[in-house]
């Protein structure tokens, strides 16, 4: 449907009737300060919870609040208290030893009123059974017919349940290189070039890292079988360094309840709204956290209780076979007198040809991979590159 409006806009633009203008709505008061709780009770793992308040649209500073207590409680009375991670609102609960046949709930006592810090409200869920997440069947990739992109897909199924509501998140790591392997380094202040110790000082091998931002969901409600085939997790363009050398995706799969699925689905749909002619209206996600002292208080957050299935997959650049360097990286030779200016213009030295100068220079982006990642190699990384 989004296409309709694009075309509509295009037509009207063509007719010199431009269509989209920046706009600022004047907000009424009292629009900030809704409690937001994120995190799931992950049976068999360490669970992380994040407590926050909504900000007004333009604010960057969080509103003030205090978490007095945060714990996961079993129906059998066991309590697992949260540990403050000293990152405002982040807590960690050790839920590695939860029992799969006990129902658990999440509880947090929060005060968000500066005037009465000691008065805390209790935000909690009902007791929930532990949902046993099926293992991930496979992670695969599919190159687009024109080889301009690749999609990473996950497949899963569950024979034990007739229907499943799946949610995923993932962490991506990738190893990449700069276009040119620089053997030398330039020093601006002395206007000199020196050879580097490649093993320890290279700007050739780097690693990138990213966590998923999109809401990734799948429901087998209308499928008839509990089978989630080839659900797209991520789309990567052929000019993205992820597909250059070695790509790794670590996918976590969660089983969530139908209510929780709806909650995430609303968040997902609200993201995709664009004021189109036929666009659905935005709506408020309905989670499962209730303020016990004031049932009418709206709280954002849906806490699920489940086990986690994790799968990691490495894919090499050769396997993808689609990488195209985003830059044109033809090195040119420069005399010493040009070095300082070239450096200021964003060039760096690549190498010294056999024997004596000329020195070859290229754009910094072609020489220094750190511009697009870091030298921090993940501990589990299989290659020996440094």
């Amino acid at each position: 449907m989004r296409k309709i409006i694009y075309i509509f806009i295009s037509i009207m633009t063509l007719m010199a009737v431009s269509c989209v203008y920046p706009y600022e709505v004047e907000l009424k008061d009292g629009s900030s300060g809704t409690v937001v709780i994120e995190g799931d009770i992950l049976c068999g793992e360490i669970s992380t919870f994040k407590v926050a308040l909504t900000n007004s649209v333009s604010d960057t500073i969080s509103s003030w609040f205090v978490v007095h207590e945060l714990y996961v409680e079993g129906e059998n009375g066991e309590k697992h208290y949260g540990r403050d991670l000293f990152k405002i609102g982040y807590y960690e609960v050790d839920t590695r030893n939860l029992k799969k046949d006990v129902k658990y709930r999440f509880v947090a006592k929060i005060s968000k009123d500066v005037q009465s810090i000691s008065y805390a409200r209790t935000y909690s869920t009902d007791f929930m059974p532990v949902l046993i997440t099926p293992p991930i069947d496979s992670i695969s990739y599919q190159v687009s017919p024109d080889s301009t992109s690749v999609s990473i897909k996950v497949t899963s199924h569950d024979d034990t349940q007739p229907e499943g509501y799946y949610r995923w998140d993932y962490v991506e790591d990738w190893e990449f290189t700069s276009s040119h392997m620089a053997t030398h380094e330039y020093d601006y202040y002395s206007n000199s070039i020196r050879e580097i110790d490649f093993m320890n000082e290279n700007r050739y091998y780097c690693w990138g890292n990213n966590v998923s931002e999109d809401v990734l969901l799948y429901s087998t409600e209308d499928v008839g079988a509990n089978f989630a085939p080839l659900v797209t997790l991520s789309n990567i363009s052929c000019t993205d360094r992820r597909v250059q050398r070695l790509y790794c995706i670590t996918v976590k799969q969660y089983y969530i309840s139908q209510e929780s699925f709806r909650f995430w689905d609303v968040i997902r749909k609200n993201e995709n709204l664009s004021g189109e002619i036929f666009a659905p209206q935005p709506s408020k996600p309905q989670g499962n956290i209730v303020c016990e002292e004031n049932k009418d208080e709206y709280v954002i957050g849906s806490v699920s209780c489940c086990t986690v299935s994790t799968m990691r997959k490495f894919i090499t650049g050769e396997e993808f076979g689609i990488y195209k360097d985003p830059f044109v990286c033809n090195p040119r030779s420069l005399d010493m007198g040009q070095w300082q200016n070239a450096y200021m213009d964003g060039y760096d030295v690549v190498t010294v040809l056999e024997g004596t100068p000329p020195y070859l220079w290229a754009k910094k982006g072609c020489v220094d991979c750190r511009l697009y990642g870091s030298k921090a190699k993940p501990i589990f990384w299989p290659t020996n590159n440094k």
Binding site: I4, I5, I7, L53, G275, I277, V290, Y298
Partner: protein
């Protein structure tokens, strides 16, 4: 010699067939009319302009009538000549049948050319002749006094088309009648001398002297008005509001529709509605309209009796009706006649034209986006069978072709067409049959991979019979279909075809009985059979690619029957007070699984003529609706779902109470009106947060039942006729909804009342037309309204790895106010009568001030921490247009 088709004027008594015929002092044309009905060939005669000829003919058997009439005519000094089976009646000298054959044919050919010229020139003469007579209806000796009925058809003098909504009245005796969709009227008058008047919008008034001795009929001819300054103006629109009991009825003739400037210059049947008080739309390109706080699916849209589910083309830019084949539109926004039901807010009747019964004529129109044409005329010279066919298509593809290739849309297509056809046949004075057909289709794809299609099909057959002076009947059967089809071939394994389809068959039987001068009854039966396919998701296998993995999913077909029986009485309590009392009982049964609902609906309205200038009316209407449109978009979209009431989804019910005051000023040339209403709705369905409406087998879970209330006041000053004509109106209105079920914090807006998406409290509308000369006129259209409610982000939060928007309560904010002004210059065709074709040209500018009206606002979080708001404007600059029409 002039050939006159038999139907121009008649004044004759109407004894039943098979009985003896007696005409007493009848004028020549009445006699010829009667002869024509009994004579096999055609009769040519020169009308008696003096009106002096009075013929008295009496026969015992109709078969003897023609011979007897010939004898009487000859006795009065007429010559009657037979030629090729045709009869020629001339005063004095007859025609020689012995001329050389060739000579005769030439003379006929030559004279027929000048006949048309004379015909056109003589319209005024004919009207004058018609009006300057004294009509004697029935025989004076048979007159028993008391009150008698006069009935007939009001026709356009030019093409014989029936004129709808014309007032026929006697000021002296305070009787009033209005012509129905067939141009038929019936008025009760005291026996003896009467003066009756006929007036209609953009028609010259006709005043007739009548001597009414027996119940009888008189057809009236009227001529379209050429506006000029000194003309007497008695407006039918104002007479209607004063005379009928109904309130909140808006009749707009096609002439007015064509004057109102629109985007791209397409005369638009629906867009003109939005210029009326009490009618709103959510945005400029939206197809639906909202009447007095009702939702878009609460309007019953009838085109020649068929129900239209999606009245728009090109995603709401145009309405789906070709203006060339439409005669008028009538919107009932308050008093809904008991014969209509099934929708909560309003009934919009779009009436097609019947066609010219004299000549074959047509038109051709060319605009920026569409081209259209129509042809109409009689099948036979008698004009008893006539037809009209119209078609319209677009060539908007060229606009898409202009897009840069990088947009990916320049291979897109957007096209639509609609076709209308109707045939009517008049068996005799009492029985006519009409057949209508309509088909509209839209197809648009903006990239190669997604195609949207939708269509409307309607067909109906109508039989109208006036079996006696007091009783008449209309019986209609028909079939309607609406469906859409979305094809997505974006990815081979995910390619699908999504279909939705609704079909209905209907039968309507309505009777009208005039019991006496106090009571007129309307009663009848309606029945609709629904067959609805709520969704079909089919895998689509792209040839030569991987097979689609989409699972075939066909939702259960819904079937239901909706029937209703109604009766209403128009009761003239006194000269000043009258009332319409109607009751309708509707019964709805969903067959799968079986579940029925039913209930009475009341339609009551009354009128008090407080003085010669002031009329006060009040009304109460209750309605029931068994089919619902489910949507979570702001406007009507081509993928909206219709759903029948079932076990879980209750029918919508509602009532409206209204009062109104009308007064006439400045010699009755200006009408002032104020109407106030209060409306309650129950079980209106709104979407639940995060609902999925397409391919949902359990829709009841995703919608909420709401109760609604709407109230408002409409003030209007109208000058329907004259050199400067038009109206200005101000409306204050509110529409509020509340979720019925208490779902606590999850109730929409916490269970409080919230404004509906089309709640726009203030609105001012102006529609004006100024005629400089007969050929040049200027139209101006101004529209101001409060911005519509929207749901906006009022906060943001980090969740699931990204910033998410925190939205306000539903519809808690508003887009900026709306203002638009359009102008158009109309150049009417030249008045050279002998010219074969007539050009008319319209230039105009839509949104002259270029105001960037917000259609909607939306927000983007892509930039990370800052959230940027954007406003979408649909027509944010002046849009010029030109339209050329040719009539032949």
């Amino acid at each position: 010699m002039r050939r006159i088709l038999s139907i121009i004027l008649i004044a004759l008594s109407l004894p039943a067939f098979g009985q003896k015929i007696s005409l007493y002092k009848s004028p020549l044309d009445s006699v010829v009319k009667r002869m024509d009905a009994l004579f096999d060939g055609r009769i040519f005669f020169v009308p008696d302009t003096t009106g002096n000829t009075k013929l008295t003919i009496q026969v015992d058997n109709p078969s003897l009538f023609v011979d007897e009439a010939v004898n009487v005519l000859k006795g009065e000094g007429y010559s009657v000549t037979m030629q090729d089976g045709n009869m020629f009646i001339l005063k004095g000298v007859g025609i020689s049948t012995k001329l050389p054959l060739q000579y005769f044919q030439e003379s006929v050919a030559a004279s027929s050319g000048s006949d048309e010229y004379l015909d056109a020139l003589s319209e005024d003469v004919r009207i004058a002749n018609f009006a300057n007579k004294v009509y004697e209806i029935g025989r004076e000796d048979n007159c028993k006094g008391g009150k008698l009925y006069l009935s007939g058809v009001v026709q356009n003098v030019r093409n014989g088309e029936p004129l709808v909504g014309v007032s026929v009245y006697s000021e002296e005796h305070k009787s009033y009648a209005q012509t129905d969709e067939f141009g038929f009227y019936k008025i009760l008058l005291p026996a003896g001398a009467n003066k009756i008047k006929a007036s209609g919008f953009s028609l010259n008034d006709v005043e007739l002297d009548i001597r009414l001795y027996e119940t009888g009929s008189l057809d009236i001819i009227m001529k379209e008005k050429v506006f000029s300054l000194n003309e007497a103006t008695v407006s039918a629109e104002s007479s209607n509001t004063r005379r009928t009991n109904k309130m909140g009825v808006e009749l707009v003739r096609i002439g007015r529709i064509k004057q109102v400037p629109t985007v791209m210059g397409e005369a638009d049947v629906l867009k003109v509605l939005v210029t009326l008080p009490g009618v709103k739309s959510v945005g400029e390109a939206s197809g639906g309209f909202n009447v007095r706080g009702g939702a878009t699916d609460q309007n019953l849209i009838l085109f020649n009796e068929g129900t239209i589910y999606n009245p728009t083309h090109l995603f709401g830019l145009f309405s789906a009706f070709n203006p060339d084949v439409v005669t008028d539109v009538e919107l009932y926004k308050s008093s809904i006649p008991a014969e209509y039901g099934g929708r909560l807010s309003s009934v919009l009747e779009i009436r097609g034209r019947e066609g010219n019964d004299k000549n074959v004529t047509g038109s051709l129109g060319i605009g920026l986006l569409t081209t259209k044409g129509h042809i109409e005329g009689p099948f036979t010279k008698s004009g008893k069978t006539k037809f009209i066919v119209g078609a319209r298509t677009t060539y908007s593809d060229w606009m898409l072709g202009l897009l840069p290739e990088s947009s990916g849309y320049n291979q897109g297509t957007a096209n639509f067409y609609d076709v209308n056809a109707s045939i009517s046949h008049k068996f005799n004075e009492k029985n006519s049959i009409y057949a209508y057909g309509y088909y509209s289709r839209d197809k648009f794809s903006f990239s190669i991979d997604t195609t949207y299609m939708y269509h409307n099909i309607n067909g109906s057959l109508k039989w109208r019979s006036n079996f006696s002076d007091q009783h008449s009947m209309i019986f209609t059967v028909g079939y309607d279909q609406y469906g859409y089809d979305v094809m997505d071939t974006h990815k081979d394994v995910e390619a699908y075809n999504l279909k939705f389809n609704i079909q209905q068959g209907f039968a309507k039987l309505k009777f009208k009985s005039v019991l006496n001068d106090k009571h007129t009854l309307n009663y009848g039966l309606n029945s609709i059979y629904y067959h609805l396919k709520p969704g079909m998701m089919l895998p689509y296998n792209i040839p030569g690619a991987n097979p689609s993995l989409v699972k075939e999913n066909i939702l259960d077909t819904e079937e239901a029957v909706e029937s209703a029986v109604y009766v209403s009485d128009t009761w003239n309590i006194s000269d000043k007070v009258s009332a319409d009392l109607g009751v309708r009982y509707s019964l709805f049964a969903n067959l799968n699984p079986f579940k029925y609902y039913g209930g009475p609906e009341f339609r009551v309205s009354g009128k008090w003529l407080a003085s010669d200038r002031v009329t006060i009316k009040a009304g109460f209407n209750s309605m029931r609706q068994y089919i619902h449109m489910l949507s979570n978009t702001t406007t009507m979209s081509p993928t909206d779902i219709w759903k029948l009431s079932d076990v879980d989804i209750k029918p919508q019910t509602g009532w409206q109470a209204a009062v109104a005051l009308y007064s006439m000023h400045f010699n009755d040339k200006v009408e002032f009106s104020v109407e106030g209403y209060y409306k309650k709705m129950d079980n209106y369905l709104d979407y639940k947060s995060g609902s999925v409406l397409i391919m949902n087998s359990n829709l009841a879970q995703d919608v909420i039942e709401t109760r609604g209330q709407a109230y408002g006041a409409e003030v209007m000053i109208k000058k329907p006729l004259g050199k400067l004509n038009g109206w200005i109106s101000y409306t204050y209105s509110r529409t509020l909804l509340q979720e019925k079920a208490d779902r606590g914090v999850f109730s929409v807006n916490g269970g409080d009342w919230y404004p509906a998406a089309y709640d726009k409290p203030h609105d001012v509308k102006f529609v004006g037309n100024y005629k400089f000369t007969h050929r040049y006129s200027l139209s101006l259209n101004v529209d101001y309204s409060t911005g519509r409610p929207v749901t906006v982000p009022v906060g943001k939060y980090l969740y699931g790895g990204g910033y998410r928007l925190y939205f306000s309560d539903r519809n808690a904010y508003r887009v900026p106010d709306y203002f638009r002004m359009d102008v158009a210059v109309n150049i009417e065709p030249s008045h050279y009568l002998k010219q074969l074709s007539h050009f008319s040209v319209t230039f105009g500018v839509y949104n002259v001030t270029g105001r960037k009206n917000a259609y909607s606002v939306y927000y983007d979080t892509n930039s990370g921490k800052s959230v940027q708001g954007y406003m979408l404007t649909i027509f944010g600059a002046p849009i010029p247009y030109v339209n050329i029409n040719v009539k032949f």
